[in-house]
Symmetry: C2
Subunit: 403 residues, 2 copies
């Protein structure tokens, strides 16, 4: 009997009616002759509610206690879904992360999976039960509850699918797959039937919000294919795997837009070895993720460095840089500008040159100014003015014939 792992996110189990809907879908999947493992998140809003309660008691709550606290969200959902399945006559049992044998290190709130025994899941499946596993959580070797950080339920689903050799792993969410561009911005955007891990990862880091990179990286590392599809309809979604059917001549698979970026420019710093290192060490010490970096040399011996960060991190980044540059006399050597980032992603770039040229040309024709550029083997990203973001995405989408 084929084994399917289905993961339902917080919006899919938001209230009892949503949970009834998920129960119906799980029943249908089982009725088609499959063994089913279901991974669920906390009801949407619950995790934030718990975090707010904790923060109103303590501005910097302890990580171990936050894991104890946040893990209750998923524990509630697994029990409710199990109870809902029973009322449809479907035998089901719930398992916490610990009970599913998900062993992690003890880095609370961002634990890493060490191994998955599966607990008694195989036994339960053999007995005909649907097994419902709490996403986002595991247990450290010494028996403490750990969590994986935001989006961790995807990781649970993919890791379980890998550990138990599932025939299919479905990430059910509120979008119905991966598109060539955000369909709310680009009306001609198409759903991509298949995409490989690298492209998915580049899209995830480029503003495509459906999945956290971490779950995709895990899937890539252990070659676990999965499908992103909607929990609200029955359409096939996008399959993410190692080898995808290449369409001859397709250079770019998709384009992504991230509106939520800031550029920080540090001016008039001495152009000497170690200066850039000092700046980025200060940022990494504060766990601030830097995306694009550009360094210009201006007048003799003086350099400017610009880099982009998530807009949420911009103020903290500015402060970190100021603190490591105390020798600067004046205050006005740092500026923050809001920007948007447009990226095109495609493994086809490896074999076909000219993607960058085509992208820059298309943007130039629309008089969209490129502020910064960053490239990887399969991605080209440019920073532009936020006001031009939608137009730029449509332009690039057309330029690469993605519609």
């Amino acid at each position: 009997m084929p084994l399917i792992v289905q993961k339902y996110g917080g919006t899919s189990v938001a209230d009892v009616n949503c949970i009834k809907n998920v129960a119906q879908r799980v029943k249908a999947t089982r009725d088609q002759g499959n063994s089913v493992i279901v991974v669920v998140s906390a009801r949407s809003g619950v995790t934030n509610e718990l975090i707010n309660r904790a923060k109103s008691l303590n501005a910097k709550p302890d990580d171990r206690e936050m894991d104890m606290l946040m893990s209750v969200g998923e524990q509630e959902t697994i029990a409710l879904l199990s109870i809902a399945l029973h009322s449809l006559g479907v035998p089901a049992v719930s398992r916490t992360g610990a009970q599913a044998g998900i062993l992690t290190d003890n880095t609370h709130t961002r634990a890493r999976i060490i191994s998955i025994s599966g607990g008694d899941i195989k036994e339960q499946l053999k007995a005909g039960n649907v097994v419902i596993v709490a996403g986002f959580q595991g247990s450290s070797g010494d028996g403490h509850i750990t969590t994986f950080g935001r989006g961790g339920s995807d990781l649970t689903a993919i890791a379980l699918a890998g550990a138990l050799n599932a025939d299919s792993c479905q990430i059910l969410t509120d979008v119905d797959g991966v598109y060539t561009a955000d369909p709310r911005v680009v009306s001609s955007a198409r759903k991509i039937p298949e995409i490989n891990y690298e492209e998915m990862l580049e899209l995830a880091s480029s503003g495509f919000k459906v999945m956290q990179s971490r779950a995709v990286e895990f899937a890539q590392k252990y070659s676990i294919p999965f499908e992103v599809r909607s929990s609200f309809n029955q359409q096939p979604g996008t399959i993410v795997k190692e080898e995808v059917t290449m369409l001859e001549g397709l250079m770019v698979t998709g384009a992504a837009l991230d509106r939520n970026q800031s550029r920080i420019t540090v001016s008039d710093i001495p152009d000497q070895p170690g200066t850039a290192a000092k700046v980025f060490k200060a940022l990494s010490d504060k766990d601030i993720i830097v995306d694009m970096i550009v360094q210009n040399i201006g007048r003799a011996g003086i350099a400017n460095i610009s880099f982009t960060v998530s807009r949420d991190d911009a103020e903290r980044a500015e402060l970190a840089v100021r603190q490591c540059m105390t020798e600067k006399g004046s205050d006005d050597f740092i500026s923050i500008t809001n920007i948007a980032k447009i990226s095109v992603v495609g493994v086809g770039m490896r074999s076909q040159p000219g993607a960058a040229a085509r992208m820059f040309e298309a943007l130039a024709q629309q008089s969209i100014n490129i502020i910064m550029i960053s490239t990887s083997e399969i991605k080209i990203s440019v920073a532009i003015e936020p006001e031009k973001a939608d137009e730029a995405l449509r332009t690039v989408h057309t330029a690469f014939n993605l519609g």
Copy 2:
């Protein structure tokens, strides 16, 4: 260093402000030079909310899944209280029932404690930590979460105090002790400084709602003294233990009122062996607890049986009796009447006769009619009209000089 176990109920941890208040009290107890274990319930309302959610999915939710579900209430509170204590500079760690080594049988939703290892609690106390344990829950031998039923957090506190040889166990609640009668009804009621287990048990079964009998029975069985006191002030409460200082001549310790009773009368049944057995077997099969029972013989060969049950059970009880008496032709052989129950409790009754006479006389002088009577070695209960309940309680309270 003395070890104190404190238990805070749901109303004491209802919201973040209440939790801050509890954290302050725990800190004060620790600052006085004590080691502290804190047992907490779910925030008041949370357990009912979870039950309602489950019942809206399934009229008869599975017991194992209900335990998985309900245990999250306490798990939330232990994490929040720990986080609140940290913000006061008090080192604290939370432990679920399973982590505290509370091993139970697998009777889900009403599990019985088999043993308590304490997990790493002693180690944590030695390291200077306050240890916060989730009340109401444990773990079965095969690793499933179990709960003890309503009021189960008291049981957790008393059982932990016994297992870890605590010097004191405080049940902190919204009343400040056990009174000679409900002070809202009897203005001259006094707080009882000490009471023994048997009296406490008789009061618990007589309408005194502070604690479930089960926790008191456990305390009695293992001779674990505890104190019932208020979480909202610093007054000493009532100490419950085996041997209490007897006041010479005190026949009755307290009087209790239960307004929430119904009398069911089954008329005209054949006066032959097995009839009463059949009726009460039918009730016990439905888990209906019967309190007082009276049987009268009327005309030759015909008997009437009256018994009292909690008003919530009255309809189910009537149905159970009808179903076991199908041979009765007519429908009107059963009647339900609302009644109130007044009880006086005191170990002094064992050595001093005349308590019943004094109680009946006092009620007669006030023209309060006694409908039914039931007695144990240390308790006398009478059923009366609900309209006379308050007056009857005051009358009895005065008759035994309890003011």
